[in-house]
Symmetry: D3
Subunit: 135 residues, 6 copies
């Protein structure tokens, strides 16, 4: 069993806030991440799959195929977007790194043919990242 | 003459678009950077000063002092903000990396006491950065 | 179950040596890490916690709260210090990366309220890092 | 139980192709990685071992000893080589990242004395890496 | 005057050797870089241009346009190639980092319309890079 | 004229303080960098030379030769040392990044045969670096 990880990137705006809370409460819980006019990040996504390398090709899956899946299911929907407003599958979901890794897992998992999805990792900044293993 | 560079970071939303153009024209010129609901970046700022190290302290300027200037004049105004909407000194200025380095230079230059401002560098992504030398 | 990792940094001096050994023996085992007048590193600390994101906030724990715990329990005690001489909770402990991750785990674990401590990672240089999972 | 990871690097040429396939088929499966005159990479290798730190030295294994094993068993055979042509233990093996981690594991595992080999990781580019845990 | 830098990458094989020298002489001068079956690198290219940002768009040149020029003139010719054998404009030129930056300058300079080419930088490894300013 | 830069690293302890000042004054000026029991850094050194690539070898200078000079003149004297106590050529010099780049320039410049020394850069942390051009 070998694990293969592919890195992709997307740049997006977001805002953390609870609509039913007033500004003071949102600021208390989310700090300046609740800025009403949004802020944004260069998100870095690492997708890890696992499987047996094919005895002929030496590959678990063609890396180009994996790239296509990640781009069509995730990157094209999130890159240069507002995570709160522009993304159908993020509606009603707070766009924290913790929730992003779960949502991205759900986007990718149905496409895991010939391999198993192992981990989704998102760096929000160089100091914070989240991981999800489907557990 | 020695040069000293300090790195700081800020996360912000922005959008590139000309108000007088229609969506097609904006998309043609700015691509997905013109997404109407914004997108964002983890900007990395490098400020380089030059001067003679003090013969007693070995420092051009106290690095803590330099950090304070950069934070109070730049970072506090840009971090977790919308560069188009939230920043007084960016009003009417297209928030490209090229313009950001010029604006940040103008913010810092009046505070260059005991040293000379040499260069302002901004990374917008790992693939693009701009430099300004006050020329 | 989602995992969240926060990065922090500290700069410290240390020396690897056994007091009961002579210089030759210390040099044989620890090489130039036993230099009697110390040397030092820019240590990079990654703390990983796990838990369920709150359904309202989308966060396992407020990242600001996690930062406060790491800084008050670890960084303030180690940053710009001598790991052999200046740190109460390191007395009698060889300041290797292997021991540092165990000690930092013990410092953080009692503060794991609302989340579980999963891993402590320390980079000593770009070429060496240690991990501890509390096992 | 503590985990220790050491980074090493090697620069090598390689080519992905199946000798029994024609150029079209190789290009279809391997893309430009099948370029007949080779291409190459700056590979980055991370070797992770685990064990109990020695109560006297605070080390699982002397890091210099670990470096020697990795260099003599792996790096000296792969650095500035052609992975398809120059490496005895790679004969008949497709030099993908997936196969490299398995082969490097087999090279290192017999030398795991006083520690357990835990993981071999290879970065082929900044966007792709493979992991093997001996499973 | 503002400077804008764009990063691109290419993976290639090469070999440093003088055809008229024997193996001992080549090994003496070029070390293991003269390995007869080639080796390779993940080259990182930074192209810096300078110019005045357009008062309307805030851009020196459309970054997409710059990317297209770099890719069509440089990357498509070098990526996943053998620098000694596969590249028309490298024939008869020793593929050192020093020569690469000069050649790439010559490839890009005729396309500098609306901006001035300022610097070409190539990282061959994380420890070595070359710069050329057209001087 | 081409510029070539080589990266090297050293780990060292240091302390910023003026012997004639009391602790309050040293703390006021140098902050926790004046900790009496030292602290330390993973310093990263970039040495840039310039010259004409040799028409036969394509190299300004043999990179191995450059590495030898940097190591014998600088790294061997600073690595795993105390910059205040252990280094003959640092006696009486405050070990700031600003002074380090000047001292290292003076160490290297007499060995510039067949090339010109252009710049010495030292990263003290990921947030601070100094440059010296011999001016």
């Amino acid at each position: 069993m070998v694990y293969l990880t592919r890195r992709e990137r997307f740049c997006a705006a977001h805002r953390l806030f609870v609509a039913g809370w007033n500004d003071e409460k949102n600021m208390e819980i989310f700090g300046n991440c609740s800025n009403e006019n949004w802020h944004g990040h260069n998100y870095i996504l690492y997708v890890t799959i696992k499987g047996e390398p094919d005895p002929v090709t030496g590959m678990i899956i063609n890396a180009t195929e994996l790239k296509k899946i990640i781009r069509s299911e995730v990157i094209e929907h999130l890159d240069h977007k507002n995570l709160n407003l522009d993304v159908g599958f993020m509606q009603g979901i707070m766009p924290t790194a913790e929730n992003l890794v779960k949502i991205i897992w759900q986007r990718l998992e149905p496409h895991a043919k010939g391999f198993t999805l192992h981990r989704v990792r998102i760096y929000e900044t160089e100091n914070i990242y989240a991981d999800y293993y489907g557990e």
